[in-house]
């Protein structure tokens, strides 16, 4: 497995967009992990005298309406965004993985039931669904993670189910069954590694959606509670101060752009790298 990963990484790095994506993703993750070290100021430090300043040498991205350093808030915002993404996707993908494998490998009635469950869940437009859960459970980080995890389950569930169904009929699984391999062994050793590849790609393409959703809800004041800096709250702060000083709102959009472009480019490149048919892709 490690050699395979090495090979894939090499391919990604050879693709200019993939390389760019990788760099951007590293920046975002790095900001999230090392926020304490990189951040020039304390993001919660209020200094009303210096509110809504333009970018300067002291404050590279200016200050917000309470005088807090925008750059620091954005760096810590990366931690918030990545943290929520990791938790919610982690939970959602895990449950989705299990349900998907159950659906693909188990009896027909279970499959139909799970499909029905997936379809119903994804029949509700994202934001409306999130708003419904928030209205019941009340806004907050916990609710946010719960909502996003819930929404993610059908996404991952469907993918895993499709892979499982396809693999279930493939010959090497039949061979294993013929040799008397137990269900768990088949699932663990054979199905799982084959499912992981597309799963990773999906995660990479899903993170922009999750980050965007979290920011959207925080923008509405229904996500992360202040003073925790979320990119969404910073964006909203910028929006309200739009006419006074637009530099805040411009700055607020930057991390979102970087994160979404980065993960999308990386995901696309991974998808190309993992597709064996595209090995000799160089000629047009």
């Amino acid at each position: 497995m490690p050699s395979g990963v090495h090979e894939i990484l090499k391919r990604v790095m050879r693709d200019p967009l993939g390389l760019l994506g990788l760099v951007l993703v590293i920046i975002v993750i790095g900001a999230a992990l090392f926020a304490d070290v990189i951040s020039p100021y304390d993001p919660a430090k209020i200094d009303v005298l210096r509110k809504l300043q333009d970018p300067s040498a002291a404050h590279w991205l200016g200050t917000d309406q309470l005088g807090r350093d925008t750059l620091s808030r954005i760096i810590y915002g990366a931690r918030v965004a990545m943290g929520i993404a990791v938790f919610s996707i982690g939970i959602g993908a895990f449950i989705g993985l299990i349900l998907g494998m159950l659906a693909g490998y188990g009896p027909r009635w279970l499959d139909s039931l799970l499909i029905f469950f997936f379809d119903s869940l994804s029949a509700i437009p994202l934001i409306l669904f999130a708003l419904t859960v928030i209205v019941i459970l009340g806004p907050g980080t916990g609710t946010l993670i719960f909502v996003i995890a819930l929404i993610s389950i059908p996404v991952y569930g469907r993918l895993v189910r499709a892979q499982t169904l396809a693999l279930r009929r493939s010959e090497f699984i039949l061979a294993e069954q013929a040799m008397g391999a137990g269900t768990f062994r088949i699932i663990g050793i054979h199905l799982l590694p084959n499912v992981l590849g597309p799963l990773v790609i999906l995660v990479s393409m899903d993170i922009p959606t999750v980050v965007a959703l979290e920011a959207a809800l925080s923008y509405l004041g229904l996500g992360v509670r202040p003073p925790t800096p979320s990119w969404g709250t910073i964006l909203n702060d910028g929006y309200t101060s739009l006419r006074t000083n637009p530099s805040l709102v411009i700055a607020a959009g930057i991390p979102l752009v970087i994160a979404t472009l980065g993960f999308t480019f990386l995901g696309e490149s991974l998808r190309d790298a993992l597709d064996p048919k595209l090995k000799r892709r160089q000629s047009p």
């Binding site: 437009p125 409306l128 229904l222 006419r243 637009p246």
Partner: protein, 317 residues
């Protein structure tokens, strides 16, 4: 075709029922009185009592569910907790705005994307194609509301060409159109790239198929080959993926309405959420989900109409 239609509608109805059930059961997740949960910690006992009566919570469980379904199906979505007006009425008032925004937003994107996709196929391999490809990948992933806010900043605030807020003066179509431009642009922006890419990919697949060569061998004019023989097939997977993404369209319309302060479902629901006005939220979700499910069914039926192979796959079922 008929069997397929019935099956499709049946599935859709089942899903709607599932959603309705989930919506109703949702309030029961939180322990304690659901009415209290719906109204939040600052509710007065009087409000809780009223909502309890309205939600029929003092009745046996099965009766509640039955009443709920009967109510929804007859158009009674409950009362707005704050204003006491029927939720159905409020939604009915707000809905057209949202629908117009959705239609215009997706409409311009589609009208632009299809020729762009075809153009990319014709100029395959040239820098135009590669540039468009790159742009679409980048543009797809940008969150639409960032685009919306930047557009608002540039065109409404800095340049002052277009209004930043509202939906124009009633009766003045011109101002209404001007107010529609930025929001519709924001919604459609991410779609153009996505759709163009889809069209391009499908067209590439189709144009390489042998039957296109047959048509050419018989001297059928190229424009006819591209449209009748190529595009008609290529649009099928495009439509299919479009149907799935319609939910996202509704979501983005809702949020964009908030950003531009337009009246519509978005404003209605976000205000309701802030005030713990559960009946409004639930009613809006049900209505929008119903619309989404109906649209997906419609698209599925359209696809079956366009591709006889799909219809006939159901003959044996």
């Amino acid at each position: 075709m008929l069997a397929y239609t019935i099956k499709r509608i049946g599935l859709g109805l089942l899903i709607l029922i599932g959603v309705m059930f989930a919506m109703y059961a949702a309030v029961f997740i939180v322990p304690g009185n659901p009415a209290r949960a719906a109204l939040g910690p600052r509710a007065t006992q009087e409000m809780i009592d009223r909502l309890t009566r309205e939600m029929g919570l003092d009745q046996p469980y099965l009766v509640q569910v039955y009443n709920f379904f009967v109510n929804v199906l007859s158009g009674n979505l409950g009362l707005d907790v704050i204003s006491n007006r029927p939720v159905a009425t409020e939604i009915w008032e707000a809905l057209p705005n949202t629908l117009i925004l959705c239609v215009v937003g997706l409409g311009w994107a589609t009208l632009l994307a299809i020729p762009l996709g075809c153009l990319a196929v014709l100029k395959r391999g040239t820098w135009i194609d590669r540039a468009t490809s790159l742009l679409s990948v980048s543009v797809i992933s940008l969150p639409y509301y960032v685009i919306a806010i930047y557009a608002l900043l540039i065109f409404a605030v800095e340049l002052n060409w277009l209004p930043a807020i509202g939906d124009g003066e009633p009766g003045d179509i011109g101002s209404q159109i001007r107010a529609l431009i930025l929001p519709a642009f924001a919604i459609g922006f991410t779609w153009v790239g996505y759709l163009a890419r889809l069209v391009r990919a499908s067209m590439l697949d189709v144009m390489g198929e042998p039957h296109i060569r047959t048509a050419r061998a018989f001297g059928v004019p190229e424009w006819k080959i591209v449209t009748k023989y190529g595009l008609r097939i290529a649009l099928i997977p495009t439509l299919s993926l479009l149907a799935v993404s319609l939910g996202g369209l509704i979501s983005s319309a809702v949020f964009v309405e908030v950003i531009f302060s337009r009246p519509g479902i978005g404003k209605l629901v976000t205000a309701a959420v802030a005030l713990r006005n559960y009946p409004v939220v639930m009613g809006a979700v049900l209505v929008m989900t119903a619309i989404y499910v109906t649209l997906t069914i419609a698209v599925d039926l359209l696809i079956a109409r366009l591709d006889p192979r799909i219809r006939d796959a159901f003959r044996g079922t």
